[in-house]
Amino acid sequence: MAFNINGAKEKYDVIIVGSGAGGGMSGYVLAHAGLKVLMLESGPFFDPAKDSLQLRWPWESPRRGASTNRAFGDFDGAFGGWEIEGEPYTNTEDSEFRWFRSRMLGGRTNHWGRISLRFGPKDFKGGSFDGATDDWPITYDEVKPYYDKVDVLLGVYGTNEGLENDPDGIFLKPPKPRLHELMLTEEAKKKGIPVIAGRCSVLTQPLKNNSQRGICFNCGQCGRSCKAYADFSSSSALVIPAIRTGNLEVLPNSLVREVLVDGGGLAKGVSYINKEDMQEYQVYGEQVILAASACESARILLNSKSRQHPQGLANSSGVVGKYLHDSTGVSVSAYLPQLKDRKRYNEDGVGALHIYSPWWLDNSKLDFPRGYHIEYGGGMNMPSYGYLSDLPRFNGALAKVDGTVKKSGGYGRSLKEEYRSYFGTKVVLAGRGLAMARKDNYCEIDPNTVDRYGIPVLKFHYKWHDAEIKQGKHMQDTFHDLFTDMGAVITSEYVGIERNYGLKKPGEIIHEVGTVRMGDDPKTSALNKWCQAHDCRNLFVVDGAPFVQQGDKNPTWTILALSMRTSEYILEQRKKHNL
C-alpha cells in the first residue's frame, strides 16, 4: 500500500541518492557551498568511530571471523554482500555476473581496499592509441586538477615515479615494505617487473587543515573501517563532515525507487521506500544526483519511465545499462618455505597495499590490448577462521623443500608445530586488469522479477571475450613463473582454458562501471562530459556509471574526482541559472 505525499512543502536544492564514494563527495562539495542537500541512503547510518569492529579479536566472534554473515568476514565493514535477502538480481543462462552491494552509510567505501590509482592519459584516450576501446570525451589534463584536489582533501600515500600512464599525485609517505614484499620485489625485478610503493588513501601523516581525521596506527584492518578516521571511508571523511555544515540531511534506510519528472520532463524529485515503516514517500529538489552505484543507478533510471521518457529517464539513446564492465582478476597463492619459523614481530602495517606493480609491458608484443597491475598480499596477519586450511594438503611438498619425505596430512603434535612453523609464510599475487566495455555486456530490467519492495530488478548479460581471457592467461603464467623461480610451493591449481585460466567471474573484482556512459553524442551516450543527462539537464550521475572505459586502475579515485568536478559544475550552472 503506497503512501504518497504530494505537494510536500519542503524542497531541497539538491537530492542525492546514495552515500558511497560518488554521493559522499557530491554531498560534501554542495553542502560546503551552502546548498540545502538531502541524501537518501538505502542502508543504516554507519559511523566508523562507533560502529566499526576494528581491534576485535577473532574469539570475539562466535564464528571466529567466518564469512557466513558478512562476505569478507564477521568483523568486516561491508554490510550487504553478493546476495541480499529480498533484493535479488538475475542472469541470462550463459552469464554469471556477480553483483556486490553494500547497503549502509558510506556504501562500499567502508570496506574497500583503499587502492587509489589515477587513470592515465591513455586510459582516457585508449581508443586513439590502439583502437581497442572507445575514448572518453575528456582527457587526463581535464581531470588532473580534480585528482589533485581529491589527493589533498582526502589523503593518499605513494611515490612519484614519473610514469607515463600512472600519473604522479600529491602523496603522503608510503608505509615501508614487509619482509615477504621485499622478497617478492627482488624476484619480480629479476623478471623486469617494476615494483613501487602502493598508492592508497590512508593517512600515514596528518592531513593538512583537517583536525577531524586521525593518523594511521598500523593495525592493518582498514577493511573494518577505521575508528580514528585515518582511512578514507565516505562515511567518516565526507558525509559526516558534510552533516556538520548543517546543510546536509541524511535519510538512512530509504531506498529510492525512481526519479520523478515534471510535465516538461525535468527531474523534480524522487520517490523512495522508507524501510522503517515500509511506506513510500516523495521528496523534491531542484537537481537530482544519482550515486547509488553503477548498476543501481542504471536500474533507477530504467525504472523511471514516464510519458516524457518512455524508455526510462536519460535513455533516449538506449545505452543505459549497456557497456557494463568490471576489471579482470586472477589470483595465485603459495607458501614461501624460506619464511618457515620466521621471527615474530608486529608487521600489521597499513590495511592496504604497501607495494604494487603498475603495468609494464609493451603491447605490440602481446596478443591482448593493454594490461593489468599486480597487488601483493601475505604476512603475519591476525589468524582468522580458515587459518592455514590448506596446510595439510601441502605439508608433504613443504617437507620436501627441507629434504625430508613425508606424506601430506597428519595430526597430533607434529601437525600442531607445522601450523606454527608456517605462520606468516603464505603469499598471494593478484592481477587486476583491463576489461573492455562492450555494448553486449549489459544489465536491463528483468520483466519477471521484483524485489521485496515491488521494484523491478536487474538482469545481467556478461561474458568474457578473447581479450580478457588471453590477458588472464598472461597473469596466471606470470604469477606461476615468479613463484616457481623463487622456490615457492604453489597452492593454486593451474587452471586451463576451460575455466578461462582462472579469470574471476565478471563482477567479482567489484569494479563494475560504465552503465550510464558519458559522451559528446546524445545518440551513443546518456550523459555529457559533465555527467549531466543529455535528455534532462537537472539530472546528474556521479558514481562509476558515467565511465566510458576503465584501464587497469581501480575506479574509486576517478569516481571521486569526477564527482567533485560535476558538483562544482552544478554550482556554477546554478549561479548562471542554467539548470
Binding site: A8, L55, R64, M183, F217, Q221, E276, Q279, N346, P383
Partner: protein, 212 residues
C-alpha cells in the same frame, strides 16, 4: 510537511515518534552525533539487527548429542593435543566452536554427523567397540588410515573427507582462540608504529642492500 505525515505513518504502525528518533531534520547548529534516525534497523555493538537475531536463534538449540560431543572432544585432542607449552584443542573449547559453526553453516551438519557415525562404525568393525571405547593405540591406528588423503583408499573415502573437514575446523577453532594465537606468536592487533623490517631480519635474509 512530509515529516508530519511520516510521523502519522509511524503512529499508525505503533511506533512512538520519540523512539524512532526522528532527529534527522535540518539542524544547522546540531552536531553529527545527533544525527540518528533508526527504529528497528539500528546497529548495536556494530551489528545489524538481523545478525543479532540470527545469533540468538543459533544459540537457542544444540546440534550434537552427548555422545557425538564426547567423540568430538577425543578427536580434536588427537588432532591438536596439549604439549609442554600449550593447551589441547578441547581445553580451548574447540568442540563448542564446532557446535556453533555447524549451526552457522548448516551444509556442514550432514558430513559431520555422518562422519562421527562412520568413525564409530569403523571402530566397531575393526575393534568391536565405538570410538571412545577403544584404546589409544587403536584410535591412532584408525586415524593413520584417514589422515593422509593421498593414500586413496576408496573404501575409506567417507572417513578421509570427514577427517579433512574436522581437521580444518579444529585448526580454525584452535588458532583463533587466545591460547592458540599466543601459541602462534602473533603480536599485532594493537596500535603500533610500522617502520619496516627490523635490520637483524634483513641480515638474516641477505636483504641488507634494502636497508633505507
Amino acid at each position: 510537511m512530509y515529516k508530519m505525515k511520516r510521523r502519522d505513518a509511524l503512529k499508525a504502525i505503533g511506533v512512538s515518534v520519540m523512539a524512532s528518533g526522528l532527529l534527522f531534520h535540518r539542524c544547522s547548529s546540531e552536531k553529527a552525533n545527533r544525527v540518528v534516525s533508526r527504529i528497528n534497523l539500528d546497529l548495536k555493538d556494530g551489528r545489524e539487527l538481523w545478525e543479532r537475531e540470527r545469533f540468538e536463534e543459533l544459540n537457542s538449540y544444540t546440534f550434537f548429542d552427548q555422545h557425538e560431543k564426547e567423540t568430538l572432544v577425543e578427536l580434536v585432542d588427537l588432532i591438536l593435543p596439549a604439549d609442554e607449552h600449550s593447551l589441547s584443542a578441547s581445553e580451548v573449547e574447540v568442540p563448542d566452536f564446532i557446535e556453533f559453526i555447524v549451526k552457522d553453516q548448516p551444509e556442514l551438519q550432514q558430513p559431520m554427523r555422518e562422519g562421527l557415525k562412520w568413525i564409530d562404525d569403523y571402530a566397531k568393525q575393526q575393534f568391536q567397540a565405538i570410538f571412545v571405547g577403544i584404546t589409544i593405540g587403536q584410535k591412532t591406528h584408525i586415524l593413520d588410515r584417514i589422515a593422509y588423503p593421498e593414500q586413496e583408499r576408496s573404501e575409506l573415502q567417507l572417513g578421509i573427507s570427514f577427517f579433512t573437514l574436522l581437521r580444518e575446523l579444529t585448526a580454525s577453532g584452535y588458532f583463533t582462540s587466545k591460547a592458540g594465537i599466543d601459541y602462534l606468536g602473533y603480536v599485532g592487533n594493537r596500535p603500533n608504529v610500522w617502520e619496516g623490517v627490523p635490520t637483524e631480519i634483513l641480515r638474516q635474509f641477505q636483504l641488507t642492500h634494502l636497508i633505507t
